[in-house]
Symmetry: C3
Subunit: 477 residues, 3 copies
């Protein structure tokens, strides 16, 4: 390796981020990867799926401190620290939570070495460096200075959410919104003179999963909001249609469904109606709950053929694995654990019912990588309605992305995938995550070029498709 | 990389195929891979399993056009184009099918970019370049010219099947033949003065899978052909023996069994007899159908110990996933999707019954890569009768082959694998597929050498075993 | 590659072992890997889990010959030779076993090429070279000479087990001991003036698995030894406590549990008591046997919170797959085959019962690599009690280790893993196995450095953690 080249290790001292990070070591391949990446490094960010707080966009509040921004809301961070002996309270979460944000940040700095080799480390290094201009990696020695520097920055208007959106080069960002939401923050964005594009996503789980707490109340509330009789099956379906129309009017182009499995069903009306009646009357058996979720996926696919909303299915997480953690600090704290998730049999009823309708797009996300090559790529390489979502959650990482491309591409190609989405609740990680994905895709394409499976000019055509083109198309943005 | 070396990217302009394609980027490893590959590049092709049409060999007809040769019969091709919105009719398949072959070819050219990163692209580039001498990649701009060039070639005698067999350096090729087949085309080959060796394979599914359409009729027909009473269990087994003898006389060395799972059973005679009676009388329960297929695998293994036919098991495809596609365009159109396929428990009855018989060879094929290291390599690394077939179908690809070697070799070694087979219905892809396999195996061996897990001279010993020696031995060819 | 550098292939002629074996081919990465490895190449061996014979340490007997040392007790070796047609008798095992050890060794030499590409080959090359000073790879031509050279060496005192322990630089080694063992050999070690540290491990299977032969007798014997009434549930649990105390007094820091699945249960006392009664009275249903093993895992976890013994769970092997092999040559002959093994649901009862107790450490081992990224890393990256054991058995290999690090690190990091353990019955393979692991970990870390996911100085900090630090901590040694 040329010591004077940008890929030299000597460069690292100048910045927290090496310009050639995540590119393959082989010099020939690295050079191609770098060239590919350069064409999309500054391309606009299309963020079609994520969990940023709509209030940030609607009210544009200032963040207060580094702990609030980087530690407390990030389940990747809190679970890792917890796994090595820190308590949630020490991290500012739950009862008797630490109130001193600086103390929380110091604990994070003490544990920052735990993230070596993880994507969180890449994202946080990137955010500290690129968003806050810090040139040293977080450590106990510089924790206080970084806390102060970040606090100073956050007090300035250019670190408010809307300013960050503009600075990050975001073209459009989707939030994920409860079916019952009034979307007031989306409304505020639209009424404002800010030009950012923030679109809602219709997330149905609270009113379709009988195992959700307060499911029945949610369904009744759905009836009140829509004026539909949600005690009856047809009224309940109509209520979804009313809400979807509202979401579409507010800019939504997609729905999202987070299910423990990918099971679908296509029951006759009478059977579906009877099932609906049973799930409204507790106790609901696990079989009925599963069947109802399964039936609703097919119903939503049908509605998508009517109204054009793109459908997303995130399947395979066993939520709240430890009951005590759930009861003391609530959901989304790192105790959602994947389970094996089949697709071939699970999707068959839905695909036989509406899988050939040209109006349907269904984007699939899995936590079970064994299904990439075995089930998902064969399905997406056959059914016109299917697209494969990017590596999700635990697999949103360099190795995860590599495995996805290696296992999905040979059967599904590139055009049956749906580009990248950051899926994040951590605002400052958005550019970092897209950057990691673009680098990993550049590395994968470069490997195809140096092994002569792809011409160099073809790789340059594919690169922007993976960086934003496919996402924009798949999500109809 | 030396710009003047054969691995230089500059060479590509001279040909559609780079001489170093599929070799690792690291120069040291690439050099070894190239040297290994060179020793087998022109070695004879042993093709012990595939789906070429026996009529080609028996009647030696001329192909008419590029669409008939490359598009219409190739489910890898049609499913990908379909997945991106083309209809089967537009591809010349099913009702109201496009009759204009040139139009089909143009559509294929329009969609050819979809195959980037897939093995189909490697195979078709290879065939266009090496079989038809075309030096440009197919594109909408050259589609007409290539269609014409191919049509011209196909009119010449040296593009008839037997001439291609000779030109491709095929030593022996196996077809896959229905148990009820009269093998008339094999007979024609044997009566001809052509020296090619085309052997049939006894594929039993039509008379062993109770879920096959017209199963009962097929079993009755089996009785007529053989003169055995196939309404009775012993007569039915005898009929198989008669047919196997006929196939052996016609050159067969192997049987093949395509099952949704690898389940085997070893029932007592009375129980098996009762099961046979039930599956002959519709409706047949899914459990009985599965049990009957399972029992038949053990029966076939027993017959193999008697007559020496090598047994192949291809397990794990859910056939005809979309009912509408099946009803309109039939089977083998790309709508067969894999399912998880266990081997450890599934094979136990068969292996306990006949797994130690030295006369048995059972070659296993899976669509579930998770079983390579977990189940298949441990089984093949213990039972003398077992050999691992090459990566199958969706995994017959560079990444699929790499994963197979990486996951199977450390437990099963090389000698418990059965070499390559092309498994193709696409005649012109045969040399391409063997070439890809030889290159990928050379790359794998070279990696072992540069990481000093294998001496260079050992790699040179192993290379021809993988290219043809192991296949010849495993299939007793 | 510089022909004069230590990574040159030319060096190989000087030794059976290349100094750069298992390092990545890319020169930059290789250089870093070599530097990392050099820092731990001679570090002490911490061996917290394995199957060396306690008698070796207690009585320090001489081994007699190469066949006894390398062939007969090593199921990796015997199964591979068996899979290619040698009989167990020819390998000196079972009835009518070959008595001529030299003949056995010759057969091994004839089949040694079968191990190409397997870890056994790496281990045996290493032992022949480093333990016995042989510079040629074993072959039929040198088999006799090597047999003689090894026999000569074994007659010398420096080849007795304790001398090898010292020479190998072992700091501490754990054996695996039946719960009913009197640990006499451990006692002998402690009474001797030898300074080696050999600690027992409490392996409970014989008295907790109702499907073990003589289970009931074993439980009664447990009662006799401990003076507890093991016909009653509480007495049975107390008997375990008594034995665990004895093992702890003899130096044990850990327990080990080898189960077909990872299933756990947390039954109420009355229910557990009734289950215990049922499993003591044959016939025991498979469901009851599984439930009892599951319940005992949770009981053992509770006991670990009381007495501080680290708990190991090795789950997923289907033992004695072929009944005939089991009946003629017994267990541990290579006919244990993995099955799919889920962890997310299986561990939930145990983890909900005691998973948050800071006194518990539970180390998990799997034979199902599909669970590394899907289940094990997410679990270990959340629960403070969990650590991931190293790649086990079929996966204790270069490719297996690479996949483990690639699939586990991004979610669990390094500190939630438990370092390496050799898990071996083959004394001379101990340094070889640790050497392979250290090289593979160095290679993995070096890859993170050259792709700029880790700073070089961080990699140097992590290296000794992986080589011995994490094992020492996780096992409380």
């Amino acid at each position: 390796m040329d010591e004077g080249s940008p890929s030299s290790l000597a460069c690292r001292a100048m910045s927290l981020l090496h310009p050639d990070r995540l590119f393959p070591p082989d010099p020939t391949t690295r050079k191609i990867a770098r060239a590919l990446y350069d064409t999309v490094a500054d391309a606009p960010i299309v963020s079609p799926h994520g969990h940023t707080d709509p209030r940030w966009w609607g009210e544009d509040p200032a963040f207060t401190d580094a702990a609030e921004l980087f530690v407390m809301p990030d389940h990747y961070v809190t679970r890792m620290l917890f796994s090595q002996g820190m308590s949630f309270a020490q991290l500012g979460i739950g009862e008797e939570a630490e109130g001193d944000r600086r103390a929380i940040w110091r604990r994070f700095a003490e544990g920052y070495h735990l993230f070596r080799g993880t994507p969180s480390r890449l994202w946080i290094d990137h955010a500290l460096s690129e968003v806050f201009g810090l040139s040293e990696r977080l450590s106990p020695a510089n924790a206080d200075a970084q806390f102060d520097a970040i606090a100073d920055a956050l007090a300035r208007p250019e670190f408010r959410p809307r300013a960050l959106y503009d600075r990050f080069g975001i073209d459009v960002i989707a939030t994920t919104d409860d079916a019952l939401s009034d979307l007031r923050h989306h409304d505020a964005v639209q009424r404002s003179d800010w030009t950012g594009r923030v679109v809602p996503t219709y997330r149905s789980d609270a009113v379709t999963d009988p195992e959700t707490p307060r499911f029945r109340n949610n369904v009744m509330r759905l009836g009140e909001i829509t004026g539909c009789d949600t005690t009856r099956w047809q009224g309940y379906l109509d209520a979804h249609r009313v809400r979807r129309t509202f979401f579409r009017e507010m800019g939504a182009t997609a729905t999202d469904h987070g299910h423990p499995t990918a099971r679908t069903l296509d029951l006759g009306t009478a059977e579906a109606e009877a099932l609906f009646k049973r799930v409204l009357r507790p106790p609901v058996s696990p079989e009925d709950a599963e069947a109802f979720r399964a039936q609703m996926l097919t119903e939503f696919a049908r509605m998508s053929t009517e109204d054009g909303l793109v459908m997303q299915l995130h399947a395979g997480a066993v939520r709240n694995h430890h009951h005590g953690v759930f009861h003391t600090v609530g959901k989304d704290r790192g105790f959602d654990i994947p389970q094996p998730t089949g697709w071939t049999h699970a999707l068959r009823p839905l695909l036989n019912a509406v899988g050939m309708d040209p109006r349907l797009t269904l984007i699939l996300f899995t936590l079970d990588e064994a299904t990439y090559a075995r089930e998902l790529a064969p399905l997406a390489g056959a059914y016109p309605c299917l697209r494969l979502g990017p590596p999700w959650w635990f697999h949103d990482s360099p190795e995860g992305m590599r495995r996805f491309r290696e296992m999905a591409t040979e059967t599904a190609g590139f055009e049956n995938t749906a580009g990248f989405n950051d899926d994040t609740r951590a605002l400052c990680s958005i550019p970092a995550r897209h950057d990691v994905a673009r680098r990993c895709d550049a590395a994968f394409l470069a490997g195809l070029v140096t092994t002569h499976r792809l011409d160099e000019e073809e790789a340059f055509e594919i690169m922007p498709r993976l960086a934003h083109g496919l996402a924009r198309e798949a999500y109809r943005l």
